[in-house]
Symmetry: C2
Subunit: 462 residues, 2 copies
């Protein structure tokens, strides 16, 4: 297959205008999933994709769900090499406020950017129609040049990603055998910067807890009971203050037991990244990193477990002042987890920690606000190194491994329901105005994105 | 004078039915100060008192204010002995919900209580018409028996106590020479228990502060910025947790510098009081005293300075969960002060304490929610010992010195505007349902209250 790669890349360059035309045709279908008025457009977008897949030799179908349909396609070629499942979504966000758009949101427009770049401006240009089409156009180039794809490919497109994916889990569960592959490919993440490609390999997990402390059985007047009666706000603040030590480490029993140090190679790569801690914090008005001492900011936000208090309330919070000692006080606390940490164990460690501070005459209740383990793509597995090399070759710059503190639910679903890891590669830029007026995708993201996938498919075939 | 006392007490006993008749006449005037519909009734109550005072030989007048009138009376006898100003109020609380009253609220009714006591049930029976009349009836008995009062007495009755006393301060300021006396007598406090009289000698002061901490200049997503960006809730809880040490002592610099230990005699008296710490806390569902180690609960709530967090809020406090790192978090904090502590100094110590924990990239703002110094009647002054002895003689049980954590604004006003200490003696019981339906005053409170004042007047004359 590798012998075809340079011809495939040449074809991609030569065919770029036609690729753009296809993308524009796709974008013009206003497939807004949250608005019932666009239900038929969502169906049209699904049908359009099914037709595209069939052109590329897939056995493809628009599959009904209680909501908007799924599109599933499988290659009919004899299985060879690894089997990948590519995931994307054809639905888009609403366009309001439409008066802030400089061009009609569903009429894709090429705009010359101030810095000389060219932007594709339209709703869905980046999220996720442009991104999804980078993969389909890579498949098209392979099919055109060599008559077949270098590896076995299946496809899953959904139409409810922007409205919470209610049909996705049931669909995965009902079709788990059909949709299971060796690895999932997800194209929904960002470049590191305009010129540096990135693979997101670490998704932190999350444990959400609400803790409520009750002291007296009613609100008290501080003049009558002050000091003598336990104040639940005071108790709560004292307990919460113990969650981190002076070095910013989380103090829960066993919290770090299953946490591994970052591999030296990754640490070194991150140290080489053009990341300025001061600028990162300056953008939100801060300048002093607040987390674990001796850890860089990138490591803190991508690869270290954390504890945050996300909400707290107790006593009188209106205008003015009341000298009340409240009966109750509560807080919402979350832990971001890294690979290896067991959410259930962390939740229990938190509850034990809080309980250990409770006086015998006060009570504490906990509320479980969900948990998900961290996910990470093994550095030494079969996917990461070939993909990194392919990206590095395409962009002429070392591709970086990235983490993300946020969650990408589909990746957890693939792992949990289908037992698949996911390779997250994306060509979006930070400033793409995804979900906002004047959403854009750089023409170079689209072009090099197609070429990148063409290279990754070849790399996986080796 | 003392030679008249036993005749005066006998007269009080013999005249009790007539005293009650006068009280009932007064109670029947529905002088609700908060409801404009009762404006004329308030004026009638003031006029009624003015007539009473004139009968007792006072030069008295109903004095206009922007609100309900004041009643001021002065004795015309040549000045001899100390000069006291008795304060009371003729207005009462509304009676809603009227359907919960067992008898008409403005038709005083004698009710046989389950324990054999007799209750005077009516709005104002305790607060403050019954209490106020104990003093007037004592004056009446002295006047009847000996033709004059044992000491020089002035009177101030207001009609806006239940609606925030808006006219009081201006009236005190405008008439400060006229109203200044050697000591004020205030009849608005409780007995220690059904059989033990009490003088309230300590009113704690109060400093109210609101502290708001700002970290990032916007709310952040904890997945993106968690750990690296300072969380103001975490910072606030850490700071608030430092306000008390492990022994429950307040950690502000110099907080205890001006705090004196309780005199040994008072400490011993309080130790003898039938006060059960467990029962006190049990009534609100607690059992473990939470304040300073090594200090009794009574000492904590009456005679020690405290710090309470009265309110706290930050981040997401609605249903469910949001992984936000908020920009701001705030708390309302109050300090109860004891005699000697300077509110301004305490406020500054608190602000300095908070500032000392602030990272350089975060900001804190403070809001002043008022301050008042503690007030206490000197144990070794001319008023306390004679009054205690008089009460002890009347009730056949050692009168106790009490503190109160709450504030009685008039006492601060007398001290600040007129330079007068106040002797707070009251005959109310805890269960008088003041401000509630079926307010009552024990007939024995009324009877022994009159006799107590008769004795105190005699004691001051010595």
């Amino acid at each position: 297959m590798a012998d075809h790669l340079s011809a495939v890349l040449d074809h991609i360059d030569a065919d770029l205008d036609k690729s753009l035309e296809r993308l524009f045709e796709f974008i013009r279908i206003p497939s807004i999933s949250t608005d019932p008025a666009y239900k038929e457009d969502c169906r049209r977008a699904a049908e359009w994709l099914t037709v595209q897949l069939r052109e590329l030799g897939f056995v493809a179908a628009t599959r009904a769900t209680p909501g908007h349909p799924m599109v599933v396609g499988h290659q009919t070629q004899a299985a060879k090499g690894p089997h990948v499942l590519f995931y994307g979504h054809y639905d888009v966000q609403p366009v309001d406020p439409v008066e802030l758009w400089n061009t009609p949101p569903f009429e894709p427009t090429l705009v010359a950017a101030p810095n000389g770049d060219t932007w594709i401006v339209a709703r869905g240009a980046s999220d996720d129609k442009g991104a999804l089409m980078t993969f389909l156009e890579a498949c098209r180039a392979w099919k055109t040049v060599s008559g077949e794809l270098p590896i076995r490919v299946s496809i899953l497109f959904e139409g409810e990603e922007e409205s919470g994916s209610p049909s996705l889990k049931p669909f995965l569960e009902a079709n788990s055998d059909e949709l299971s592959a060796d690895v999932a490919l997800v194209c929904d993440t960002d470049m590191w910067d305009d010129e540096t490609p990135a693979i997101t390999t670490m998704l932190r997990g999350l444990v959400g807890e609400e803790v409520e402390i009750t002291c007296a059985d009613r609100d008290l007047h501080s003049g009558m009971f002050g000091a003598a009666a336990r104040n639940p706000i005071h108790l709560l603040t004292e307990i919460l203050a113990t969650l981190r030590d002076a070095d910013g480490r989380i103090t829960l029993q066993g919290f770090y037991d299953d946490v591994s140090e970052l591999p030296k190679a990754v640490k070194e790569q991150w140290a080489r990244l053009p990341f300025d801690e001061a600028s990162f914090l300056n953008q939100v008005g801060l300048s002093i990193p607040a987390g674990e001492k001796g850890r860089g900011v990138l490591e803190q936000i991508w690869a270290r477990p954390t504890c945050e208090i996300n909400g707290i309330v107790g006593g009188y919070i209106g205008e003015g002042f009341k000298t009340v000692i409240p009966s109750k006080a509560s807080a919402k606390v979350s832990f971001r987890l890294v690979s290896g940490q067991n959410p259930t164990k962390i939740r229990e460690a938190f509850r034990d920690h809080v309980r250990s501070y409770m006086p015998a005459d006060c009570t504490v209740t906990f509320r479980d606000h969900g948990a998900s383990p961290a996910l990470s793509l093994p550095l030494d597995g079969p996917w990461l190194r070939p993909a990194l090399d392919a990206l590095t070759a395409e962009w002429g710059r070392e591709a970086t491994l990235a983490g993300t503190g946020g969650s990408i639910p589909i990746v957890g679903d693939f792992k949990r329901l289908l037992g698949m890891d996911a390779l997250m590669v994306g060509f979006a830029r930070f400033d793409n105005r995804v979900h906002s007026p004047n959403e854009k995708y750089d023409l170079s993201s689209f072009h090099h994105g197609i070429r990148s996938w063409a290279r990754i498919l070849a790399a996986f075939a080796r």
